[in-house]
């Protein structure tokens, strides 16, 4: 008799933990009200503010960093954590990983997120949705804090123009600090172009003429990774902005009615249709990963690829020593374009976010402030061959060919820097829906008119989908 009842009780208890802990009335409260030790309503750690500690970090308070470990690795963050450790007498808990979405989501839902995260890479969490749900710390205190190197300067004064906007989601609050600054464009081997006597094209016509020349040499003008067709959009979207002006690009970002049905879009998409019809895209690109496509490109099978400045690091294993990597600005229609040749697409990437209800949001911001110091940005640029979002941070460093070219292009562009927000505001629309259309356009399965029609339809559908949070340029 006895043992039997005990067993029953044991079953009941076991069931209670799993099933009864989710009262149907407010089932998610169960998720929030777990163990107790890490309750969200526990006050965040703060300490006294001082000149060397302007944000008021509490000494000895734990800090957790959850870092996307991709093309840049995570050593540059670890270096900054060292500084933080010695400054505040604590060891930062560091996780370097990929595929952050499924790992971070339950932690946000249970109000126990890491303090600072680099929410980047494939399968990351939707930063826009996090911002919308008030899960993120407004980083304005960080922007208004003095820099590590010069107490007379505020952090906001040293960031490259556009960095703050890149972290905004429809309001003045900045939720993400995009640490790495990426220059996009047509990447090519200067050596190959010199050998063949080619000029980097300025207009669509010149590009098509170059395509014919290259084809004679058995080289394809362009390649792209079919696995990630949105690489093509790095050029394509910005080209729409170059031809039609920033307003046209902003209208597309804002999902305005008929935004895709303007002349600038027709010119640009028509150009891609022609490239596809003349078979100037490397055959097989549609089935390649970015690594496979970059390998073919470094072998000289294709001349130009639309890519970001990370390509220098990523393609390093196969890039010949004398490749002499360079980046060309956006190709457009010609003098009728709203913006001159030399216009580029550049944007800050690697969104660092701080959890609003973490245990130590102030510490999270402080770590970012340390990362923005000269010592850390130099380290980042030297080790990853990439620029940071700090103005002039690369000055005085010896740059690799690709980085030097990107840096020069950025300088030459002056104010003519474009940025399409579609990519981070409406990830699915850009990557998948438009990506699928682009794949079909580039393989000659649909024409430009069909692409435009499909893009408009997809944008309208996104606009009318109440589950998608909307953003507007401010």
């Amino acid at each position: 008799m006895g043992p039997q009842f005990n067993r029953r009780d044991a079953i009941k208890r076991a069931l209670a933990i799993g099933v009864v802990a989710i009262p149907s009335a407010s089932l998610l409260s169960a998720c929030a009200s777990d163990s107790g030790s890490d309750k969200p309503d526990k006050p965040a750690a703060t300490g006294a503010k001082s000149a060397s500690n302007p944000l008021g970090v509490k000494k000895g308070a734990p800090l957790e960093a959850f870092i996307f470990k991709g093309g840049f690795g995570d050593d540059y963050v670890k270096a900054a954590e060292q500084v933080y450790n010695s400054e505040y007498g604590i060891k930062v808990k560091h996780t370097g990983t990929q595929g952050l979405g499924p790992k971070l989501q339950p932690r946000f839902a249970s109000n126990t997120p890491p303090d600072v995260m680099d929410n980047s890479g494939a399968d990351n969490l939707d930063t826009a949705a996090l911002a919308k749900e008030n899960k993120l710390q407004d980083l304005t205190p960080l922007l208004d804090a003095p820099t590590v190197d010069d107490p007379s300067k505020k952090v906001r004064d040293v960031l490259i123009a556009g960095t703050i906007e890149q972290g905004q989601f429809g309001t003045q609050a900045m939720y993400a600090l995009n640490y790495a600054f990426t220059v996009y464009g047509g990447w090519y081997s200067s050596k190959l172009f010199k050998e063949k006597g080619w000029e980097y094209p300025q207009t669509f016509d010149q590009a098509i003429a170059l395509g014919a020349k290259a084809k004679k040499e058995n080289i394809s003008l362009f390649t792209y990774p079919g696995k990630y067709p949105y690489y093509v959009h790095f050029d394509l979207l910005a080209q729409i902005g170059k031809v039609g002006g920033k307003e046209v690009l902003n209208a597309i970002d804002d999902l305005e009615d008929g935004a895709w049905q303007v002349d600038a879009v027709k010119q640009v998409i028509g150009y891609y249709e022609e490239l596809a019809a003349k078979k100037y895209f490397m055959p097989g690109s549609e089935g390649m990963t970015h690594i496979q496509m970059q390998t073919a490109w470094t072998k000289g099978k294709a001349a130009i690829v639309a890519d970001g400045s990370w390509v220098e690091n990523e393609a390093a294993p196969t890039m010949p020593k004398d490749f002499d990597l360079a980046v060309g600005p956006l190709v457009g229609s010609g003098p009728s374009d709203k913006l001159p040749f030399g216009t580029i697409y550049a944007a800050a990437g690697e969104p660092y976010i701080v959890a609003a209800n973490g245990k130590n949001p102030v510490g999270g911001m402080e770590l970012l402030r340390i990362m923005l110091s000269k010592k850390e940005t130099d380290n980042f640029t030297n080790t990853t061959k990439s620029l940071t979002c700090v103005t002039g941070a690369a000055d005085g460093l010896s740059l690799t060919p690709g980085l030097a070219s990107a840096s020069a292009a950025l300088k030459a562009a002056g104010p003519n820097v474009l940025n399409s927000r579609l990519q981070d505001w409406y990830v699915k629309l850009n990557q998948e829906t438009l990506g699928n259309l682009t794949l079909q356009l580039l393989t000659g399965k649909i024409n430009a008119a069909k692409w435009i029609e499909g893009a408009q339809k997809a944008a309208d559908a996104t606009k009318n989908d109440s589950s998608v949070p909307k953003f507007k340029h401010v």
Binding site: I11, P102, A129, L130, G284, Q292, A296, Q431, E432, L439
Partner: protein
């Protein structure tokens, strides 16, 4: 005796049922509850919205398309895998030249084949995906498959494989088959080895050739084993989303031809504006379809003494 019996039943069921209830059933019940809400998965807040999510799914073309791909996988992958497994096992055990008085014989080196065929079984899906991405690389020099075709003069058969909408899904299913055949070769040939040769000798007299032998003797005797394999392959095919996620171009592309419900669910839950409620509804809908499908298959395959 009676008392002992119930004590025994409860004692034996307690741990498995408790484990199962807590770790499997309760998350599913929660998921059903979540599917009736607009939960984002990011905050503790959520609101009941009734069956709105289900209504949206019914009108979502992509969901039906993805479900169709799931059903295709569920039908084709197990059939092809088991058929190849049986075929190779039969070859190994009955395909050999006879020695002496034995009427059937295995091929020489059967042990070697069984070892090699088993190899993919010990690879995790991430590794298989990486390997096959190199095989499917469309580059005529770097891609293993295309360069092989080039070397034997079959340039016209070179494809962009995963990038070609007409064959992308087939390419992924082929990998799933590749990864699983080996186990069934070993499993089925173990079964065939235990069929007494006298039985083969008997049908010999009826003038049967090897093909009829296979259908009249081997298959009926292996029925239970095949059924086990069928169910297990069904589970693998349903979970096949990892293959799609890792290998397909554009996350279920090109042009959505490889999208499957679990991948759609995954994207909806973790990426596309974090609509966990919607994703949960997709899961429930898929569960219902799978259960109906499973019941139908079992009904159809349940004959004779196999009792499920």
């Amino acid at each position: 005796m009676r008392h002992g019996k119930y004590r025994f039943i409860i004692g034996f069921l307690a741990v498995p049922v408790a484990l199962y209830a807590v770790l499997v059933i309760s998350p599913f019940v929660q998921d059903f509850q979540i599917s009736l809400t607009d939960w984002s998965g990011l905050t503790p807040e959520k609101h009941y919205i009734g069956f709105d999510n289900y209504q949206k799914i019914i009108h979502n073309n992509l969901f039906w398309k993805a479900l169709w791909h799931n059903i295709l996988m569920l039908l084709i992958v197990p059939i092809v895998t088991l058929a190849l497994g049986l075929f190779f096992a039969f070859m190994l055990n009955v395909g050999g030249r006879r020695k002496g008085s034995a009427s059937v014989a295995g091929v020489r080196g059967a042990g070697f084949y069984k070892i090699v065929y088993f190899f993919p079984q010990v690879l995790s899906v991430t590794v298989i995906a990486v390997l096959w991405q190199q095989i499917y690389n469309p580059d005529p020099d770097d891609g293993l498959l295309n360069s092989l075709l080039g070397h034997v003069g079959l340039t016209s058969l070179q494809q962009s494989w995963l990038g070609d909408p007409s064959i992308a899904l087939a390419c992924i299913m082929a990998v799933m088959v590749w990864a699983n055949v080996g186990f069934y070769v070993v499993l089925f040939s173990a079964g065939m080895a235990s069929i007494p040769a006298e039985i083969y000798e008997a049908v010999l007299l009826d003038g049967a050739n090897r093909i009829t032998t296979f259908f009249r003797i081997t298959l009926p005797l292996l029925r239970d084993t095949v059924a086990t394999g069928w169910v297990y392959m069904g589970i693998i095919a349903m979970d096949g989303f990892a293959f799609v996620q890792l290998m397909s171009v554009n996350n279920g592309g090109p042009n959505e031809v490889t999208d499957v419900v679990p991948l759609l669910l995954y994207k909806t839950a973790f990426r596309d504006n974090s609509q966990y409620g919607m994703a949960a509804a997709m899961g429930v809908a898929m569960l219902i379809v799978t259960l109906v499908f499973a019941v139908l298959t079992l009904r159809l395959s349940r004959r004779e003494r196999i009792e499920f």
